[in-house]
């Protein structure tokens, strides 16, 4: 199974950009499969949702604006090759010092993990240890990561929102003419023959959204949680925007509202922390949120997962809007 991945990677190096994107999707699928076989269900969940779905869409969105041809270059870059081989050889040598794979006595397994595994069911009362570690023991980390996502969402928006300057290269204009002469824009309503995807998407979207909510709130008991649910929720909307056109999606969830939600998620997370501070504990100490410690932990995890979910949804959507909206601007000016 691992050989599959290696094979895919080799291919990834050689072909043109578009093909590389497709292959990246395939690699992502295979990778998630490997994660499942390595018992990392939550990670596989995220990888599947993010790698195969969202990142493909983003790469495609970029390619639509940039063009997919890579210049042919015959020379093999010798310098980087040597560096790579050197790094690889060093690491390869280092693996002989690594403890054998999968043994329970490895240093990684004996440090803090036993505590998480043994105590989290009684301390937190949540069956999914990944969730309890994520949201409770390492709540600070997760808060930081949510903020990073928030910042990235804002950054993409700022970079892509700016009006483009009038300085245009000739070939670029040609490209735009080509695009505007084709039957519609990337985000337009599509041709009449899109009936089947329309109907099917209309049928499926409500279920996708409900499923996202299920993932969000079932995250305590099974694989799932805020990050995954956020991505799935965003994916539902992206499907809607893809099939019906971005204007419809904007009508449902406005760009400003998305921004607001993005901030609201982070604020909810921070708010939980501050609330526990007000109640006399440390930042993000959920034990005090309810009368009983386990109950408080439950409530806290639920709330911050919700915050994470909202932020991730909104950030993904705003990134998607920014990319696709950019393509729209291009086309208007090309007319």
């Amino acid at each position: 199974m691992l050989l599959l991945v290696a094979g895919t990677m080799t291919v990834l190096i050689v072909r043109n950009l578009f093909v590389a994107t497709m292959l990246l999707g395939i690699v992502s699928f295979t990778m998630a499969l490997i994660f499942v076989s390595l018992d990392a269900v939550d990670v596989a969940f995220t990888e599947a949702a993010v790698g195969a779905g969202i990142s493909t869409v983003l790469y495609i969105g970029t390619l639509a604006m940039v063009g997919a041809q890579e210049k042919e270059k015959k020379t093999i870059a010798i310098g980087p090759l040597i560096i790579c081989l050197a790094v690889g050889a060093t690491l390869f040598y280092a693996t002989y010092e690594m403890p054998a794979y999968g043994r329970a006595t490895n240093p990684v397994q004996t440090h803090v993990a036993p505590r998480y595994i043994q105590d989290s069911p009684t301390e937190i009362g949540v069956p999914n240890m990944v969730t309890s570690v994520l949201a409770s023991y390492r709540g600070y980390d997760t808060f930081g990561e949510t903020t990073v996502i928030f910042t990235a969402g804002i950054g993409v928006m700022l970079i892509l929102r700016q009006r483009r300057r009038r300085k245009q290269e000739e070939d670029e204009e040609e490209e735009e003419e080509l695009r505007s002469s084709t039957s519609g824009s990337l985000t337009g309503l599509g041709s009449d023959h899109d009936l089947v995807p329309h109907v099917v998407a209309k049928l499926l979207i409500p279920f996708i959204l409900v499923f996202a909510l299920y993932v969000q709130f079932h995250g305590d008991y099974g694989p799932g949680g805020g990050f995954q649910a956020g991505v799935i929720f965003a994916a539902g909307f992206i499907l809607y925007a893809l099939v019906f056109g971005i204007d419809f999606a904007r009508a449902v969830l406005d760009g400003k509202l998305v921004l607001f939600l993005m901030a609201a998620g982070v604020l909810l997370y921070g708010g939980v922390g501050i609330a526990s501070m007000i109640l006399g504990g440390a930042f993000l100490d959920y034990n005090l949120l309810a009368d009983d410690a386990v109950h408080g932990q439950h409530l806290g995890i639920l709330l911050i997962e919700l915050g994470v979910g909202i932020t991730v949804t909104a950030a993904m959507l705003s990134i998607f809007y920014a990319f696709v909206g950019r393509a729209d601007i291009d086309i208007e000016q090309g007319d």
Binding site: I34, A40, M98, I117, T142, R165
Partner: protein
């Protein structure tokens, strides 16, 4: 011997491929793809460190009476990688948006051409 380190070797191969792509390709999007590969290889490394042979996913199962307590894989790497994936996609999006801007300003996404343009101006 072979099976004990196999995962690590695959990780190294992937890492080398990713690194090579980043360093040798002049196309910026290709560089981003190489970066993603690099990321994925690191994820694989972490997750294979957390695996315990014969273990099961770190979600508590109800054990019935005399059944022995199951072995769980290490949940900590899972947590780290889970967040890393989402952060990774966010940073990738940021990088791609920068690529789009570069394309608009310079009219190309090829690193060598951009450098040449810079020198001209």
């Amino acid at each position: 011997m072979f099976s004990e380190h196999f995962n690590y070797w695959v990780f190294i191969i992937l890492l080398m491929l990713g690194l090579f792509t980043v360093m040798s390709r002049s196309n910026l999007i290709k560089k981003m793809i190489g970066l993603s590969l690099f990321q994925i290889s690191v994820f694989l490394f972490y997750i294979s460190m957390g695996k315990v042979t014969g273990g099961t996913a770190p979600i508590v199962v109800e054990t019935l009476g005399n059944a022995s307590e199951p072995v769980y894989s290490n949940p900590l790497p899972h947590v780290l990688i889970l967040t890393a994936i989402v952060v990774g996609i966010a940073t990738t999006a940021l990088g791609l948006s920068l690529v789009v801007r570069i394309k608009e300003t310079f009219g190309t996404v090829d690193e060598d051409e951009i450098l040449a343009l810079e020198e001209d101006s």
